[in-house]
């Protein structure tokens, strides 16, 4: 393929994206978010949102059940840890493929309908999976306790017990995910995020991507243009299900257990918020949305009264108390309130999400340059 100008601008985008992601441990420090646990979440949920966007943003099908694939990916991954090896490579591969197969079955059923009926079907099937994981599937999912590793696991390729006792740690061909204070785990997740971003970009630019956007924009025209839209939508569904499965597998890789709560509808709803907040249909938007939401969830929820009191200590006593009480509503357990307000502001003033804001600022600057 020859290098067209658009092609090089895409490569530049991937490059910038990679640099920003890989340098997270540095530039997140002033925000107090540069610890591996949180950065792993950014990467994993970013991946989840990128995949979700292929179905929702590109194809126009709003799924309310994508957390089910996270759960399937997690369970499948932990089973490989238990039965085969603690190397995450086969485990993640297996988790992603099983999620893909599961998405094929769910998508085949749900894509018989469009619009709100499709959304309700995905919600119903995901909640069903969640409840099954809690009840009759207990032999596979270990019910409420969640699926955990134990010393009795077979692990036929590894030693079931590490030297000196205890469960062996997860690793990628010997590199432990907990190595370098957990940074190894973050960089493995980051590598998958960059790979996932690149694949999503290739899909967006491909003829297949055009077909998905055609389905979103005018499904009738697609049919009368000689295109069989069902397999296209199903392919998008399976791809986004595999992204979710990969995210679930990575969750299990950095913390080797799997619980049904990952499949709950609130988790499915969260990825919808992430995508809308960041910018539906854009490439970078979903990652941004995921990062912002996970940041608020972890940082704002950790702020309590004493932190606020410190912050306002320069004010006279009475006034400081008022400020602490009022802002106290928006942090700590009240972080959802902040998120809700922010979400409302974005949807009302920037229907295209954060990316629309970025685009507007960029356009304003380029206009100023022209007028100069």
């Amino acid at each position: 393929m020859k290098a067209t100008p658009t092609n090089t601008s895409d490569m530049r985008m991937v490059l910038i994206f990679s640099v920003v992601v890989l340098l997270m441990p540095i530039w997140l420090q002033p925000f107090g978010a540069a610890y591996p646990d949180l950065m792993q979440k950014f990467a994993i949920f970013g991946l989840f949102a990128i995949g979700f966007n292929i179905l929702f943003g590109q194809t126009g099908y709003l799924s309310f059940g994508h957390a089910a694939f996270i759960g399937v990916g997690s369970y499948a991954t932990v089973w490989v840890f238990k039965g085969l090896t603690m190397n995450i490579f086969p485990a993640i591969l297996f988790g992603t493929l099983v999620s893909g197969a599961f998405a094929l079955a769910i998508g085949y059923v749900c894509l018989r309908r469009t619009g709100i009926y499709f959304s309700i079907l995905t919600l119903a099937l995901a909640q069903m999976s969640y409840n099954l994981a809690y009840s009759v599937l207990t032999p596979i999912t270990n019910g409420e306790t969640g699926l955990q590793l134990s010393l009795d696991d077979a692990r036929v390729l590894d030693d079931p017990i590490k030297e000196g006792g205890g469960i062996p740690p997860t690793n990628l061909f010997g590199l432990e995910l907990q190595a370098f204070d957990g940074l190894a785990g973050f960089y493995i997740c980051a590598a998958f995020l960059i790979l996932g971003f690149y694949i999503a970009m290739r899909i967006t630019r491909s003829p297949f991507g055009s077909m998905l956007r055609g389905i979103k924009t005018n499904n009738n025209r697609m049919m009368y243009t000689g295109l069989n839209t069902r397999p296209y939508a199903l392919a998008a569904f399976v791809i986004s299900g595999m992204y979710a499965g990969l995210a679930g597998s990575l969750m299990a890789a950095v913390d080797p257990l799997a619980g049904a709560e990952r499949m709950q509808w609130t988790a499915s709803g969260e990825v919808v918020l992430m995508t809308i907040l960041g910018g539906v249909g854009t490439l970078v938007g979903p990652v941004l949305g995921a990062t912002v939401i996970k940041y608020f969830e972890n940082i704002f929820s950790a702020i309590d009264k004493s932190v606020l009191a410190d912050l306002y200590s320069f004010l006279p006593d009475g006034l400081a108390d008022v400020f602490v009480t009022v802002t106290g509503l928006f942090v700590g357990k009240g972080w959802h309130l902040t998120l809700g307000l922010m979400f409302m502001l974005v949807v009302i003033f920037l229907p295209g999400g954060i990316m629309e804001g970025v685009e507007r600022i960029r356009r304003r600057f380029s206009k100023q340059e022209e007028s100069n």
């Binding site: 393929m1 020859k2 067209t4 658009t6 092609n7 290739r202 899909i203 630019r205 491909s206 003829p207 297949f208 991507g209 055009s210 077909m211 956007r213 055609g214 979103k216 924009t217 005018n218 009738n220 025209r221 697609m222 049919m223 009368y224 243009t225 000689g226 295109l227 069989n228 839209t229 397999p231 296209y232 392919a235």
Partner: protein
Amino acid sequence: MSLLEIKGVNKSFGGLKALDDVNLRVDEGTVHAIIGPNGAGKSTLLNAIIGKLIPDNGEINFDGSSMLGVQPHQINQLGISRVFQTPEIFGELTLLENMMIPLLAHRDGAFKMNMWTRGDAQADILDKCHHFLDDVGLWGKKDVESASLSRGDKRRLELAMCLSQDPKLLLLDEPTAGMARADTNATIDLLKEIASRGITMAIIEHDMHVVFSLAQRISVLAQGHVIVEGLPEEIKESPKVREAYLGGAEV
């Protein structure tokens, strides 16, 4: 030889007989106009041809094989393209991408997982996009979102999309409705030029100027039934047509 043959087609919606024993033949290489008063069943007939509606009974044969029970996308792949009364285009996409989709459908068939090549790096598709958009004078707007086009331009875009698929039969549903006179004349010229390439056309139209400028044969539909079929001169003279359609007025 007739390309499209409709035999004894009936379609009822509840108590309303939208199509009542319709018989129609469209010969290869001709422009066939279907006229009739509002509610005569013209659009219903087109819907039956493209598989949007399934007739209650009767036969629809295209190019020698039955179209009954064939999926809409398969009917298109067999060579029938339709321009709708309200332009059906991809409003959120650019004109270029609007053109690429039908061209890809024509080249790659109803389904192909082509997700690792670049859409804008396919020289054959891009050349054709250029050619067909140029044909309708829209190449200059190729990067514009198609929803922002004027109604006339939307129609031209849809026509270009249909033509790009090299159809054997082109169905046009009121291609000049709501157009200014100058636009209408430009469209007539464009359609004449398309007809001269040998593309068979079936056209629904209210504007008699358009009908008599283009049509080689005319069928008159009234209350779901073909009351007369013939050459334009015959239709002009037919008292039956005047009564049913023109209410006795002069053409």
